[in-house]
């Protein structure tokens, strides 16, 4: 049982016009097995929250705390956060030319498990994960994210979620750019990973459609750098009907 606890998190970025505050005091608690949907309009700071928790150097933490099972996450380097059990599925996964998916996954899993996986079982693991996501076996020999379609990039992220087995996963707009079939396959992957490893999931999204496939326990509305309303799945239905207008104008 793990708990990610975010308290009063304030984050700014440096711009040409000086530091600009993006997160203005975020409180959120995610436990193993829970699914939290964070919904909000573009520019509300949803992705900033995701990247700040993962430790992207662009974001300056100016206040608040983030702990995983009581341990300070903000003091950790990016790789230490992953080793502690945090995972970020990125909206725009980065190309790494010349590094094959197979080599990348083996290096990552070796780092996370502290030892190289046994070759035979590992090959099987990767094969199963790829088949489950409807990915061609040749995918493993391609360079990380290089020339991937939008859908392939997202499948690759969710494949990592299944193989790397984090405690808490933040999925940043994993649904964007996916057609209906891909959305279903990717969502099934998330549900599978969640059930198998009792992962706590934070689903960041602009739209409600992914929530038809991944049932949230909690819905948080994000606007102007903080959570402005919280509720159960019924809150998503309200957003579906009314949009974000009432939060943006507020």
């Amino acid at each position: 049982m793990s708990t990610l606890e975010i308290r009063g998190l304030k984050v700014s970025v440096d711009t040409e016009n000086g530091a600009v505050e993006i997160l203005k005091g975020v409180d959120l608690t995610i436990k193993s097995g829970e699914t939290h949907a964070i919904m909000g309009p573009n520019g509300s700071g949803k992705s900033t929250l995701a990247y700040s928790i993962a430790g992207h150097p662009k974001y300056n933490i100016t206040g608040g705390t983030v702990t995983l099972d009581g341990v300070d996450v903000l003091e950790m380097t990016v790789d230490e956060r992953a080793k502690a059990g945090l995972f970020l599925a990125m909206q725009y996964p980065v190309e790494v030319p010349g590094v094959s998916v197979s080599n990348f996954l083996r290096t990552a899993v070796t780092a996370l498990r502290g030892e190289a996986p046994k070759l035979r079982t590992w090959v099987g693991e990767v094969k199963d994960a790829m088949e489950a996501l409807n990915m061609d076996p040749s995918f493993a020999q391609r360079n990380v994210n290089e020339g991937f379609s939008g859908g392939e990039k997202k499948r690759h992220e969710i494949m990592q979620l299944e193989l790397l087995k984090p405690k808490i996963a933040i999925l940043d707009e994993t649904d964007s750019g996916l057609d209906v079939d891909a959305l279903r396959i990717v969502s099934e992957g998330v549900n599978r990973a969640k059930e198998t490893n009792n992962i706590g999931v934070v689903l960041i999204t602009h739209y409600t459609r992914i929530l038809r496939y991944i049932q949230p326990d909690f819905v948080h509305v994000f606007a102007n750098g903080k959570i402005v309303e919280e509720g159960g799945p019924e809150l998503a239905d309200k957003l579906e009907a009314n949009g974000y207008a009432e939060y943006v104008s507020a």
């Binding site: 790789d79 995972f87 990125m90 290096t107």
Partner: protein
């Protein structure tokens, strides 16, 4: 042993071709002050395949195939009494790579070596030259790729730390022939190579690949020249370099000349440099001279940059620590070219050496 006395070709450092090179570190190979060593360090590894001959000919029996205004080439031709000649007979397909090794010499004297590689019409072969150890070497390699022939030449500079190597690899590529060159320079104190191509018949093509990795104090210069003087020839150049550590210096010059007669030319050259630390310097100068507009395409690109923070973040967010993430990115950067060698054992060895150099440089 003799000392060369002529000095009419001695560069001063002001010439375009020599303006980057630290002449003082050339061991006197450029100005005639080097002691000419009496050694032939090039040996053929393994048995000769059918249709392949390798012999030492006297200079008078193996006149130069090409002209050169390079000062060191001039001195090599004056000093070398014989020429190592490899011939692959017409229509021979050599399945396994032909591997040459250069034995280490010494750094008190310089070997002035001439080599000729003659790939006769419609022959096909891969030649790998492995350069290791410490030596001073001035080298004039002339390559003839006959009509319809296909040659891959892999030149591995895995030198020791005090080697000075000034070499020219000049390929004359005849009608419908293809020449592929892969140059890897990851060792030595000073390496200055001139991979040059002269198209001798229409329909010829060349691919010139290279990687170099310079760490503290190393100077690696690669100065290409592709002479499009016949119609419908195609050239591709792709060199990638990484630098780490104080006073690491690389130079890449890409000269392409499309003469008036060279209608239908298709050429593109690319040089990318990755600066892994402060205090390193990468010079990159692509240069295209065009005398006819009737061509398929002509272009070049040159970039020099640092580690991509987004790549490192992505890898680290999967638990990979900073130094391993950097190592992966550098390996990936070089892999595009190294994988062109097509020899697994050598590729692994080169990547391991690159890893070691990277670790030593602490980048």
């Amino acid at each position: 042993m003799t000392t060369l006395t002529t000095n009419y070709l001695t560069p001063t450092g002001r010439e375009e071709a020599w303006r980057f090179t630290p002449l003082k570190r050339l061991g006197g190979m450029h100005d005639g002050s080097a002691i000419v060593a009496d050694r032939h360090s090039l040996t053929l590894a393994g048995a000769k395949a059918t249709g392949v001959s390798f012999e030492l000919k006297s200079s008078s029996d193996a006149p130069a195939l090409s002209e050169s205004d390079d000062a060191i080439v001039g001195r090599i031709r004056e000093a070398a009494r014989d020429v190592a000649v490899l011939t692959i007979s017409a229509n021979t397909e050599v399945a396994e790579p032909i591997i040459f090794k250069r034995a280490p010499g010494d750094v008190q004297s310089a070997e002035f070596a001439r080599v000729q590689i003659n790939v006769e019409s419609h022959a096909r072969a891969t030649i790998i030259v492995e350069n290791t150890g410490d030596t001073h070497l001035a080298e004039d390699v002339e390559i003839y790729v006959g009509p319809g022939a296909n040659l891959t030449l892999v030149s591995l500079q895995e030198w020791g730390a005090s080697t000075v190597h000034a070499g020219r690899q000049h390929a004359i590529v005849d009608r419908d022939a293809n020449f592929k060159s892969i140059v890897v320079t990851i060792g030595g104190s000073l390496v200055r190579l001139l991979p040059t191509v002269e198209f001798a018949g229409p329909g010829a093509s060349c691919e010139l690949f290279g990687v170099y990795f310079a760490t503290s104090g190393q100077f690696f210069e690669h100065r290409m020249f592709v002479d499009h003087k016949v119609p419908n020839a195609k050239s591709r150049v792709n060199y990638k370099g990484a630098l780490a550590g104080d006073q690491a210096h690389t130079v890449w010059i890409g000269d392409v000349f499309i003469r008036a007669a060279a209608e239908g030319t298709d050429t593109y050259e690319l040089n990318r440099n990755l600066l892994l630390s402060d205090g390193a310097r990468a010079d990159s100068v692509p240069n295209l001279e065009i005398e006819t507009g009737e061509i398929v395409g002509a272009g070049h690109a040159s970039t020099t940059g640092r580690f991509d923070d987004e790549q490192l973040f992505y890898l680290m967010s999967r638990g990979i620590n900073l130094s391993d993430a950097r190592r992966l990115v550098v390996r990936g950067f070089f892999n595009e070219i190294i994988s062109e060698i097509g020899h697994e054992e050598i590729q692994v060895r080169l990547m391991d050496r690159i890893d070691n150099e990277l670790a030593k440089a602490g980048a």
